[in-house]
Amino acid sequence: MSANTHGGSREIALEQAQEGMVLAQALNDAGGAVLLAEGATLTAASLAALRRRGVERCSIVAEEAPDPAAWAHAEQELARRLERLAVLFRTTPPEGSGAQLLGLLQRYRQGGQA
């Protein structure tokens, strides 16, 4: 694994680069001309173009490293809220509109993905 992390960016081999990653540094050709600007989002087309031009490495914006303590706390909080929902709905039958409302609330508490 030839990854090298520092200061919110990560240098990776081009074959590890994927669509959707964001360049932390502009990519230049041998003559110094800019191939892709800093902040550009890699696409299938731009990755193919970079490979054709012999670019071997690129520096991409590193995803936020999750803070393990905050993450554990959020997990705990979510578990507590889901447990509380079970208590609030303790007499709701498993079928019907009450159960639908419970399902909505469970997904809402988990970040509300429709």
């Binding site: 019907g96 419970l102 909505l104 997904r107 509300g112 429709a114």
Partner: protein, 279 residues
């Protein structure tokens, strides 16, 4: 212990402290379009605490005003009569019942009432119901509980004991101990105070699963009540989501994303309003 009869209950209601005159006037004017807004503004200003709270809410994000509302006449002109009536009613009602000793959770009661009011206001447009009327009906839906807790405190303590022992709905405990529930008591009080018929009906029917198919204000309050419990806004440990009407629920026909947005709005609006009204 002998059960109080319904007649005795109504007699007790008549001995309840009168609501502030301005609230009775506002409630009776819900169906009127020709209320003198200027006179109304003057009456509100006579009660300084009421006027101050009304202005704070008028300036909260609940109404999303661009510029600052600085006087009651100004508030009436920019928010409209309907909104002002809602605000004044909320402020005056929550201040009208002095807490009683004996273990009734007044704070929890008003938190749940306000949460239901906020939820009803947000749900109302989806059933073509006036949002301001829905807010007032939501705020008043458990009015009967206040009568029972303040005028029949011994019976109400028994009801709470039964509820705790059986972990059932309040109305089940009320029927077991008293033979009537807070919806019946509340609608009797709403009638005595000459609240608009629509609000009387919403108070009477908010748990009446078999009568909610027609939609309208009772259904808005019924679902708002369940949503307020589901979002856990009363702050009570023993909160319990009441049975929901299947036919009523289906009338909302909202997407999941729309429900999530509503939940978020209800939570943030409740948070803001409870700081002002229940302070």
């Amino acid at each position: 212990m002998t059960r109080p009869s319904f007649e005795e209950l109504v007699r007790q209601i008549q001995e309840l402290p009168a609501l502030p005159a301005v609230v009775l006037e506002l409630m009776s004017s819900i169906d009127q379009e020709d209320t003198d807004v200027y006179v109304l503004g003057q009456k509100i200003e006579l009660d300084q605490a009421l006027a101050a709270k009304t202005l704070r809410i008028a300036n909260s994000s609940f109404y999303g005003m661009q510029s600052r509302v600085t006087s009651i006449p100004h508030a009436v002109s920019v928010l409209g009569f309907h909104s002002i009536r809602t605000l004044v009613t909320a402020c005056a009602l929550t201040g009208s019942f002095a807490p009683v000793s004996g273990g009734f959770d007044f704070q929890g009661f008003w938190r749940h009432s306000l949460a239901t009011a906020v939820a009803a206001r947000m749900l109302a447009p989806h059933l073509q119901v006036n949002p301001e009327t829905a807010f007032t009906a939501g705020l008043l839906h458990d009015l009967g509980t206040l009568v029972l807790a303040t005028r029949f405190s011994a019976e109400h303590a028994q009801i709470r004991g039964y509820r705790q022992a059986h972990d059932c709905q309040m109305f089940d405990a009320e029927l077991a101990i008293l033979g009537m529930d807070h919806a019946q008591v509340g609608s009797a009080l709403a009638a005595y105070w000459k609240f608009p018929v629509a609000i009387q009906q919403a108070v009477a029917d908010h748990h009446a699963l078999e009568r909610l198919d027609c939609g309208g204000l009772p259904l808005v309050v019924h679902v708002a009540n369940a949503v307020a419990h589901a979002l856990d806004l009363s702050g009570r440990d023993d909160a319990l989501v009441p049975p929901l009407s299947d036919a009523g629920w289906e009338r909302f026909a909202l997407s999941d994303a729309a429900w999530f947005a509503l939940f978020g709005q209800i939570e943030s609006t409740f948070d803001e309003m409870s700081r002002i009204i229940l302070a």
